[in-house]
Structures are given as C-alpha cells and as structure tokens.
C-alpha cells in the first residue's frame, strides 16, 4: 500500500483553483481533508495525476448564521467543527449528532463536510440529513457559480453532477418551518463503521399534525434516496403510532438496497422500516435531535 507520485497545487484563491482544475483536466482531483481520496489512492482505486489542495482558500471553513436566518456551512468545515459549532448546536443539533456518527474522532478532525458530499459514497452520513433539511449547495467554477438543491447533486455511487472545474464551496440551509429533524444510523459497530442503513427525517409539525415531512434513506440505494411516498402519506395527517409504522413500511418498499458484506437487501429493507418509524417519532417528539 503506497501513494504514487502526483503534482501538487495549493492555489491561493478560489478562481485560481477553478482555473487550475480546468487546465489540468480530468486527471486532477480536489483535496480538502483528503481522508477519503488518500484511502482510495492507497487501494489503487484512484490515480490522480494532480492534486489541487484547498488548504489556502480562506473563508470556506466557517459555519455562520446569516441575518436572514440562513445557516451557511463552509465546505471545508471538518466534521468535528460541525459538532462543536454553536450555530448548529443552537439551530440544528441533529447535524452535530449526524457528524458525530462519522468514522472516528481522528478522521473527523481532518475530513470535511464538502468531501463527504463530493465523494458521493452511498453510505455517507451527512447527505441524508442535509437533504432532509433542504440544504442547497454552491458550486463555483470558471464560469461563475451555481446554487442548487443538494438533492439534485448525486447521480450514482462516487458520481455527481459536479464539473471538472467546479469546487463545492458551501451549504445553505434556509428552511425555517421545520420543527424537528434527526438522523439514525444503523452500523455494525459503535464507532468507525459504515452505515448498513440510515434514515434522516425532517418534519414541520403543527400540534400533532404533520405539515411537511422529508425522509431520506442512506446506504440503501445508489444515492441518498427520498422516500417520497412515505412523505406524502404523512403530509397533512394527524400523527399516530400506526401511521408512523405505515410510513416505515412504505419507505421500506421505496428503498432499493443491495446485498453486500455488511448486510442482505432483505435485512436493510426491514431496517429502513424500523429506522424510519423511530426517526420520525424522535423528530416529532424531540425537535432537531
């Protein structure tokens, strides 16, 4: 296991970085924390000719609350800085908890939220909850920037719509009507294990009536998957245990898991049922947890 040689660039500005990426072409990869990319390179799954480091780009690690109440998370924020962020602890502690479930402490101090998204690993922990919270992302390229829902970002395992010259710079969570959200991960060990199945939910409750629900399933489809039928059946309804159980079953039917070394498709489908019900109950009762 070794890292082969590559060219290394650490541009000072974002525009320089985008231009470099365009110039170097598909052999060039962006590195933020690098935990995931180094691992892939050591396993000879990835052979970048050049690496463009975001190390010197300033302002991309911030987590802040805008005057319009939007929460902005810089793509270079590490998982542990999410956990420690007073803004998130106040507004979306569920995100702190989701970040906490990533890998282990030593990796959480290096790995970034942007990396967790751009690598597009189906079992990643942050995408389901960020999608459930309606997060948008900002992609900056040589021709300017675009903002789009995170939900539209993924196209398959390790694949997304990001272009060669683009860099993911930030997340914007502007959803204000949500009353609760949570992420439940089911893994085969309490630390340092990938999700076998995971469910993120966000709800807007009015009394005991569900005005809006988003349910996003992780590790049970090529991309984080909205369980839209389950969401629909909750919308506008009075919440009962039976309804939540039913929502779990519907979400389970919507999932498209595969069997692999971590679990069979059958097991994962049933986990989706259980986790969806539990996550909904938790978000409804306890808010953003």
């Amino acid at each position: 296991m070794y890292l082969p040689d590559f060219e290394y660039y650490a541009p000072a500005t974002l525009s320089e970085a985008c231009e470099l990426l365009e110039k170097l072409g598909p052999g060039a990869k962006v590195i933020a924390g690098g935990t995931d990319i180094l691992s892939k390179m050591k396993q000879e799954l990835l052979f970048p000719k050049a690496i463009v480091s975001l190390k010197y780009l300033s302002g991309l690690s911030e987590i802040r609350l805008e005057s319009n109440n939007d929460v902005i998370i810089g793509a270079k924020a590490t998982h542990n800085s999410l956990i420690d962020s007073p803004v998130l602890q106040e507004k979306y502690p569920s995100l702190c908890n989701a970040a906490h479930q990533m890998a282990n402490n030593q990796v959480r101090n290096i790995g970034t939220v942007g990396g967790n998204i751009v690598n597009a690993v189906p079992s990643a922990d942050l995408p389901p909850l960020l999608i459930a919270l309606g997060a948008k992302i900002k992609l900056v390229g040589t021709n300017g920037e675009r903002v789009l829902p995170l939900e539209d970002f993924f196209t398959g395992p390790n694949e997304s719509i990001i272009k060669q010259d683009e860099i993911l710079t930030e997340f914007i969570i502007s959803e204000q009507s949500l009353t609760g959200s949570t992420y439940i991960k089911f893994a085969l060990r309490r630390s340092g294990a990938l999700a076998v199945a995971s469910v993120a939910v966000a709800v807007a409750m009015e009394g005991n009536t569900c005005r809006k629900a988003r349910i996003v399933l992780g590790a049970v489809a090529p991309i984080p998957l909205r369980a839209k039928k389950a969401e629909e059946m909750l919308t506008g309804k009075e919440i009962t245990d039976e309804l939540l159980e039913e929502a779990g079953s519907v979400a389970s039917a919507e999932s498209k898991p595969i069997s692999d070394i971590r679990g069979s498709a059958e097991y994962r489908r049933d986990l989706v049922r259980v986790l969806t019900r539990r996550a909904l109950r938790k978000a409804i009762n306890e808010g953003h947890v």
Binding site: M1, R190, S191, G192, A193, I261, Y267
Partner: protein, 765 residues
Amino acid sequence: MGENYEVIGKSVPRIDGVAKATGRAKYTGDLKFPNMLVGKILHSPHAHARILNIDTSEAEKLPGVKAVITHRDVPSTKYGLSPARWDETIFCIDKVRFVGDKVAAVAAVDEETAYKALKLIKVDYEVLPAVFDPYEALKEGAPQIFEEYPGNINTEIHQHFGDVDKAFAEAYHVRRDFFSGQRTYHSPLEPHVSIAFWEGPKVTVYSSNQSVHYLQYHLARVFGMPMGNVRVLKTHVGGGFGGKLDPTGLDFAAVKLSQITGRPVKMLYDRKEMFYNNRGRHAQYMELTTGVTKEGKILGVHANFVMDGGAYTGLGVASAYYAGALLTVLYDFDNYKFDMIRAVTNLPGCGAQRGHGQPQPRFAFESHLDHIAEDLGIDPLEIRIINARKPKTVTINDFKVDSYALKEALEKAREISGWREKKGKLPPGRGIGVGNGGFVSGAGYPCYRTDLPQAVAIIKVHDDGSMATLYTGAVEIGQGSDTVLLQMAAEAMGYPLEKMRIVAGDTDLATHDFGAYASRQTLMSGWAVKKAGEEVKNKILQTAAEMMLVVPEQLDVKQGVVFLKAHPEESLTFEEVARTYFVKYGQLIGQGSYKPPKLGGTFKGAAVGTSPAYSAATQVAEVEIDEETGEIKVIEAWDVHDCGMVINPALLHGQVHGAFYMGMGESIWEEVLFDEKGDVANGNLAEYRMPTALDMPPVTSELVDSIDPNAPWGVKEVGEGATTPTMACLANAIYDAMGVRIESLPLTYEKVWRALKEKREKEKA
C-alpha cells in the same frame, strides 16, 4: 495463599512500560540499517492456477530494483509443522493455491519502486477451478488442491475412548446439535515485519514473531544452514495471538534478497497482506451428540467435526487435534468419540489463534449443554457444576489433571454475577448466559518433533553483584512475559527486582526456548527461570556460609540481603557475597532447564492436549437485544479463573480482559469474508470489525484459589483460556433474552434479526 513472597504475587508495572509509553520502544518496523533495501512479495491474483511461466526481466530493468526472486532462486524444500504435512514452499512452484499465495519477491531502494516492480513481473497462469467450502472440497470430483491430499483431506482423526454407543443406549436423554464457527484473524495491531542481513556465512533476522527458535529452525532447515549460522531476534512485538508463530514469506524472502544484494532488506505486510498470510482461526463445522442421565450427568459425547484448513497446513494439523482433544477436560465423562476431517480449500491457510482450535468447539459444546439443561429442566449453571471435573483426575483421553477448580469458579461466578437474581428474571430483551473454558499451560510436547528441553534460562550476576541479567528465549509479545519471568528470577534468587535486567528472544545472545504459544511461558520458561534463580541462590548461600563461618542451611536470602535465619540482624549484602564468589570462582551464573515428564497416552494424536497443568474459567455475561433490529449490546461480563498462583495480578487481569475482548469480537463482529473469486473481501480494519471502547462492557475478573503441583510456585495459564468460554456465554445470553438460538458464529445482528423474524412467523402460524 499461605506463603509470603517478596516479588511474585505483586502488580509491579511492566518493565517495558516506560519505553512503550514514551514511544522509545522500537518495534521491528522502527529499525533502520545503513544501506537498507525494501522488499515486497508478489501475491497470486488467482485462487487456483497453474504457473506456466514467470518473466521477471522487465521488473529487473526498473531503476532502483536490486533483486527479483522466484521459486527458481530459492530452495524448494517444503515446510510446515510436521513432516507428514510439510506442504508449503517459499514461493509457489507449479501452482498457486489461494488469492494471496506467494509467487515472487523484489528488493528495491524504496517502497514505491518495489511496488512498481511487482507490477512488472509477468506471470502466465492457467486458471484452474477453485473450491472455497470444505464440504464442496470433500465431494467427489472437486478440484484437487494438493497431490498429497487425495480428496482434499488434509487430516483425518478418529478417536474412540470407552463406548459411546453403549453410553447413548443407557442414557436417559440423547441430544444432537449442529454448530458452526467462522474464519477469524488475529489482527495484531503491529503488522508483520522482517529484516535480514548477512555477515559472511551468517544471517541475522529481526522478525516480529512469537518464537525466535521456531523461526530459526525453519530458516536453517529450508536454507540448509546450520542453526548456528541463523540468528533470529526480536525487539518489541506489537501483539501476536498465534498469528506470528508460523514463519511468513517475509522471513524467507528477506533472507534470500539480502543474500543476493549484500544489503539489509526490510519487508513488511500491509493490512490486506496480513489477511493473506492469515494462519487465523479455522471455520469449523461441529456436530455434537451427548447422552445424559436424568440428573444431567454426562455419560458420553460424540464430536463429529469438519474444518476448513485453507490452502496450507502450517500449525493447522495441531488445531484439528486440539479441537477434539480438549473437549474432555472440563467435564468428567467416560465415553468419548472424536471424528474430524480437516479439508484443504483455495483460501488462505488457517492455524493457531488464541485458544488454538478449541474456542469454537467450546462454543458448540457450551451451547449444546444449555439445550440439554433446558431439556432436563436443570439450571444451566447447575448442570455445569454437576459435571465439573474434580482435581487429581485423569481424562478419558489420558490427560492428567492435578489442580482444577472449575466447580469453585462456577460457584463464584454465580455469586458475583447475581445469576440467581437474574436468570429468567430480567426484563424483556435482556438475558444472561454462562460458558466455561480453559486451556493447557503449555503443550506437553514441543511444537515440532524433537527431544530438546522446553526451556532453558541462565542468570548471570554482574561481577560486582550490583545487577543480574536473565537470559531467556521466551518471547515477550505484549503479554508481559519479560516482567513475569524477572519477578520469578528475583524471587528465586532472593534479589531485588529493580536490579534485574533481561535479554530475551535472541537465538545468539539468549537461551533456548520454544517461545510464546500454547500459554506455555509462565509455567515452562518459568520453571527454567526458577531453577536458574535457585542455583544462583545456592551459590550465594554457599559463599556466604564460607564468609560467615556457618553452614548454608542456616542462611536465607531475600531482597538482596543474606542473613542468618536464627539471627536476621547478622547479614551480608547479596552484592558483597556475589563479588566474593566472582573473585573466588569466576562468573556467578545459574542455569535452569525444564522438560516435562512424559505425558499422555499412546494412541495416535495422544500428545496433543497434554500439559503439566490445566486452567479453568467460567464466564457469565448479560446482553440486551434490540428485538426489531437484532442489535446486540453486551451489558456486563464476569470471568472467574482458576489460573494457579498469580505472579502479577495486574498483568493477569489484563490478559483476562483482552481474552474476553477478543472472544467477544469473534462472537459478534469478526469474520474474514471472501468475494466470489476467493479474495479477502474485508482485509481492513473498517470491515474486519474489532470492538471499539464503546462496544466493550465492564468486565469483572476474579480468581479462585488453586496451586498446581506441577508448576513453579503453582502457576497456570490465563491468556488463552479466557477466550474459550466467551462465544457460548454470549450465545446463551442471547437465547436467554430472546429464546432464539444462533448456531453459527458470528452471532451477527442480522442473524438475530432473522431468527426473531422466523420465531414470530412460527408463532403466528
């Protein structure tokens, strides 16, 4: 425990603790020698293939490559544990037999060049059909992996003691169950490393291993060298657990590459390559039939096992014998039949892992026994007390068991775990289970056929008596043997521990010893150390008697003070006596050697399982199960051990914790998996899931009094025995919690989920 000891029985900190805490401790991988090259091994990409041609010319041309070797460059001598099953060569000659088999090796100026060179070696293979399952391998028409093992049968054992059929005919109840165990891997935190260099006709090999002698023996035999020209030594070793006993390809390749290049060569495995080298626990398939009386007394047992040996034998033949041999120790019964087939398959070769061969049979037997207890309406802990072996007995397969406090361990475990208050009374989803285990305190016979003593130790007192050095071939791999042996030496000599130094695990500078396996060192190396210490003590007393004009019998020595027993105030220091000895007679040296008396019966395989002393252990654990997901939480565990006299309680309890930890990992999380091509699918530490601190429950480790007459100060083993009860203990706790029996290891969340689902469906129907 009666006697007052000065040094043993005390939790002194380990002698290597400060070096390890400060990062000063050098492991083999930390060593650098001038001009050193880096070597790597080329592993087979196929599970089974004929080698048609190997072309190394491109690799040799790569700048920075200093040597490329294949089977053509090394002896074709076969090696393994026993001559009948010497089946492995340094590199594959005609065939590769698993994904990861050793094909060639390179030495280069750095790691990157070495890896690049491996890619340039062209090997033409004719791919052959492969077989990955032992039952498939045993079928007629299965691909034949070795010429010497027709039908892929590597080892076949049929032992019968007493008359099992008669016992079953007379039994009140006969029950048959089937269990299986998985492949696991030791996963020491330190990867294997080997560094070799030559000086004239002599090679020196630093290897991260468990037995410098066993490696020296192999290297000398395979390379046709006198043992004296092979020096094997080790520095600190980052864990072994059985996985660093068999020689690795690194050891052989480093020796040859350094000979060719004339430069030191360092070779190490990365994590996945460690899984290729393997030698981990076999997957075993275990059918057990037991006949009992109405009162639960076991009358007879039939163990009918199959094990997946993987591609090569190594220590695996011993694993096969151990699997059945030690089933007779814990419970006393007069009729026993053991049938075993060890099949070869196209997967990495299996061998010895903590508890060697028997944790899985214990899992099977202890699960089976719980079923029998339930059938008879007897409490599971009680049925174990009914059958527990008594001290000073002989097993049906001729093992002499002197001290044995299993019954006391069971009773104490019942008390400290609150068994009576908990069994059948815990809230839904919670359960409690019990399992028993134990192990040999050193194998009665050396690991290969030889008449050498088990252990030799020398203690040299420095000229001025201010220090003493213990020389031993025992190997410290983290278990604490250096510390324990020094405590024993100091106790035997009557010398302060602080003045003791150790030279261990070096075939040139230290003494002969078979090393760290089969939980042998505290007893066997300990015997040699005790005798060496006593010889020093006798010389000191003799010399002091001359100095004090008394007879030696009137004197004693403790903590470096020689005194008249009747008038302790009349004394000399050890130092001045030792100096006087040196002036008068030369170097003050004590030597000790240990060879057990002839042990065991005369039937085929009678040697395996013999030991001077047997440990016993009871474990109780409490679990909580998520009934919807099958998730298992181990809430708390208790271990009560009969391990004889304890030399260092802190180290001993650390062994129990670690053994339970490993057993728990193997129970629930750990399993080596393969893809459809036979390649390791989880050769990393994210997917080969050893428990983290968050998965580990509180463990209470307690002891029962026991002194074994065959051991120095009455010591016995602890480090392996405590792994053997765990799997069944947890399986039984799950059964208690949910009423589902998981018969195959690991007891994964998914298996529990599936069993619960099936149970619900059955109840509905």
